[in-house]
């Protein structure tokens, strides 16, 4: 089949596309790794050499023994991570804008068997340690009609592209462990946060108290491979069964593992994320300088949230520009590893035109 015969990919795409990181193609290095893995038969369900190597490589990368489970989506990574931490009568604390709460269709409730997500507000779209302490203080520990605290979930980078400083993660980690809770990190944009902070993967995770990590790769250049990285080895056994019955244990796992290996090889993931972050920073600076435009959150990763007049938003929509809306006067742009500075400049020009015509 030639896709073109069916009109695929033929539409002119003249406008810069900052719709989401999910619209990105796959990086050539990763496609190449898939092709290399495609040699003869290999053991299924993770007993292949690539999958075995995955645990070793990631253990090296994270400077501690980790267990890595490739999964097909970030939703699966989050919900199954939390299902391994939270009892059916448990509670998971998260920010009120957390993806697990607002945009995964109840996956965590489903896989935990009905645990409660307890969302809390917090400046810059991050959980604030003092809010968390207060919430935990009034959690009703041991009260049989109250959902019992089991886990905390933070998103790094957050859903609005802000980033927890290491000290803040560590503070949340200390709170978690003081209360015997698990700390989960939704790392859908893990690489973007890491590239920004310039620290080691270990520093941003287990050294700061993270027990289990949703390690995102698909948004940043992989094809169909996110992963759960488990630091707390007590969570591994339960998780391994839960993954299988969730239909998340790929039979031909070598192809997912090969993607993840290539993704971290030679710091590819950091180079890609840094590129996306840089384009976002340029975009954020250019847009913030426009009249009637306000950044909703500081641009620390690859996401730019703008507050601008509804009329301007309508104009942007009318010309066919792709973007996500958040309420009446906020829109989101996402820079990808394959976004360019030129596209950023084009977008700034489009927004300028939309707001100045008001």
């Amino acid at each position: 089949m030639t896709a073109g015969q069916d009109g695929i990919n033929e539409a002119a795409r003249t406008l810069p596309n900052f719709r989401s990181d999910n619209v990105a193609p796959v990086r050539p290095e990763i496609l190449q790794a898939i092709a290399e893995a495609n040699r003869g038969p290999a053991a299924a369900y993770g007993d292949d050499d690539y999958s075995k190597l995955l645990n070793r490589r990631f253990s090296t990368l994270f400077e501690t023994e980790v267990t890595v489970f490739p999964v097909s989506t970030g939703t699966a990574a989050n919900a199954l991570s939390l299902a391994s931490c939270a009892r059916p009568y448990g509670a998971v604390y998260c920010h009120e804008e957390a993806h697990i709460h607002t945009a995964e269709g109840g996956a965590t409730e489903a896989f935990t068997g009905g645990a409660k997500l307890l969302p809390m507000p917090g400046p810059h779209f991050r959980i604030e340690p003092s809010n968390l302490r207060e919430a935990l203080a009034s959690a009703g520990w041991g009260v049989r009609n109250r959902a019992q605290p089991d886990a905390i979930s933070i998103t790094q980078a957050s859903e609005y592209g802000t980033i927890y400083p290491l000290a803040e993660i560590a503070e949340i980690g200390a709170i978690a462990h003081d209360k015997n809770l698990s700390l989960h990190m939704d790392g859908a944009r893990f690489a973007n946060a890491l590239a920004r902070l310039g620290c080691s993967p270990a520093d941003m995770t287990w050294r700061a108290g993270v027990d289990i990590l949703s390690f995102g790769a698909t948004k940043n250049g992989a094809m169909s491979a996110d992963a759960i990285v488990v630091f707390d080895q007590d969570l591994v056994e339960s998780l391994s069964y839960r993954l299988r019955r969730a239909g998340q244990t790929a039979s031909k796992m070598r192809y997912a593992s090969a993607q993840l290996l290539a993704y971290v090889e030679d710091r590819l993931y950091l180079r890609l994320a840094a590129k996306a972050n840089a384009v976002a920073a340029r975009l954020g600076a250019g847009l913030a300088a426009l009249p009637d435009v306000r950044l909703v959150a500081p641009v620390e990763a690859n996401l730019v949230f703008l507050n601008l007049p509804g009329q301007a938003i309508n104009r942007l929509a009318a010309i066919g520009l792709h973007f996500a809306r958040r309420g009446h006067d906020v829109i989101r742009f996402v820079a990808r590893f394959d976004s360019t500075e030129q596209e950023a400049d084009e977008l700034i020009a489009l927004v300028r035109s939309a707001v100045t015509r008001s």
Copy 2:
């Protein structure tokens, strides 16, 4: 990374590998389709051109309007299909050797919210219509403490490689619809059955009463793409939400859709399955002729189940041959699209040697 540097794929693989169809690599046509789909940005979550084309192509293939949902595993396909048919207090009738009952870790129970699988015996590892009628007659319809019949699941080809004749599917379909039940087909080896029967996809499914199909592709040459094909459009809406919250809605769905499109293009799937079936037939014939060896089931698809002396099984294991065991004196060999007649002959020789030394 060069995998070889880590010792991957370097072990000598001198013995023919008939361990499972899951050990197969990916067919070049399918890898090529993935590479072709890798051009620039594309809409996420199924709004891309490949995924839209998928519904049209499969509707043509099945000669009726179908809705296709790519999923990452056959377990997800089965369990979510059944979750769209069966209420939490419902029951699903299946063969006692059905994969959904014996080898998916309770996935159907999990995704349905606790529906019961009601396994039944049946010759040649197929549900027998008369058994089914009897089971349904004593199902306790309307009795509040009995799980209520909601669906029937058949596996085509069956877990033992036997195949339902069209008339038998139609009989089961008639029973199902007479009782207002859904008929699900686990088509993990759909192509192998279709190649054997030589009928159309429509004849083997909706024309015989099938409402929803787990369409397997991964075992037969795809990389990470099975699918749910829905004939009963009333099941679509519920299923679409269930897939998303199950973490089975891939963001970069184009790559799964491209695999599925290539899989059926120019009848590739049938050619691959026919090849596997032919090798299995040769293997079955050769093995059945050996002393002390008995086929457990007729070889109708790509699976060969042998009854042979435990001592012979031990000898085969001792030389490092890959195979699956079923109880004390039964083993399974699986032919793949990339298996060869020469490998079959080598395997026959190995088994001959193992049994004749007894």
Copy 3:
């Protein structure tokens, strides 16, 4: 056994007990009804004469055909009612102080298979129709990663003893039905609300759009019998199965049905509730007149929530007074059908003493 031999009921109970309506004994009329029902064998699981009569009597009481299911607790009534309305990927809108959200241990999440409760603020602890409209407007209808609106749950009287006027229920009912949602009423204190409003049971429920009602009786004089009253007969079948598998279908149902019949006989339930309301009103007026004491909500049913200095609260606790705390400076008193004006006056005197010693 004489309980006294084990020290039961022997402790001096000199302080008035306004801890909760759950501490109340059973009304003699209801005990008497149980004794009367205790004659010879009777069909089990609701096929007895009392249970059959229950549907007729309640249909008369509510002036429409209803189906009544006795259950053993209010939590079961709420969670199973909502499970009959909400899909696993559905959402239930409720007030942020709703008992289903704060004090039932995740029962609704459990029985629905993981639906989301979406709590919202609202003055006087009631859902405000305008808030509800706004929440529904941004609900993401049809968006696959968002929980889909299925039901609204209001509590009448509310958890803080406030009462929805009929017009407000009707407005919420109209919103619900306009959006094809079910309206559930948590009537743990149904009688208290009804006694206050002085309207008919029909006016406060189905005529205002209520589809299913948790009908509380235990707090107001019954022993172990709450009920689900279903107005929307489409919900009945699913509910009947869900109740049985939840272990909520009593085998000797006649004893629960007899309680419920006696509870409404000769308007007993309204007389009991009016008594509790009157004591609470006296209590509220007396307490509100004290220095440093503020009512948190108007006293419209049998609940009194007070804001008073933490030091005064500590004094009340120190003398052994029973009450529930809500945060640092709020406490709750509950008047029961068996509370007396004298006890209310004693309590007022105790609180006066506690606050004036500050």
Copy 4:
């Protein structure tokens, strides 16, 4: 209300009623205990004196420290007991005729979050230790796509009225603990078994390896009170939360506790069960002596299962006799604590008449 005014209990009941133990009324001692508990306010949710005493009394009764949770039905007792033992990806082994498998509407699947019941055949409707060993040997321990053994459930007396000898329970208990599984006993007819064996409650439970017990009382004279008796204290905490969110923690628990206390006071429960057993024995002997009548199982408790010609069954149904059917030619009679020898003789005469007219 006078029930008679509504025609309740007025129909002539001239035929002996051996339909089920659930049709029985409540014993006067138990009604009396409820009335005695009805004095003034008492703490809710199990903090009352009766509920506290319950743990002490049952600990004495069972000669070890136990925790007792009153529940409203046997289904709740069974399903929640097993939910405290079995993980969502776990398996529970039971007899193929176990009530939890055939007659609780999937309650165990629901409350465990989708664990599998693995039914097995066994003579006299009891699990046979050798079958159990074999099943466990092929359970696929550690295999990720197989439900993992977590618990064994036996019914004492069994659903067909047969009784496990102590040595057999102990053998099953040893198997369970050898494999680190929990042993649950469904004691819906616990008293009947105990009365028959003449041993102590301790001997029939924890001394033989039972970890958790569904303690039935409702069938044998209580009104609405069964209980979970926990021997393995590690199961208590999880269970206490699960009960509350299942709506099984009664607010006015004193009335359930009072029933259970009276039930065991002065060995009432054993006296009642012995009576029922004696009537059943008389019935069994009388019926077995009839032509064309065969006992399906030895009469060891209060249940009598008969095989007799379908025509005779039809005649019995035609005269309005109450009984349960099991398939085409088997019926069940149940003797209760309030059944009489005269009724047994009447029933024998009726069956004689039905079979001899053939």
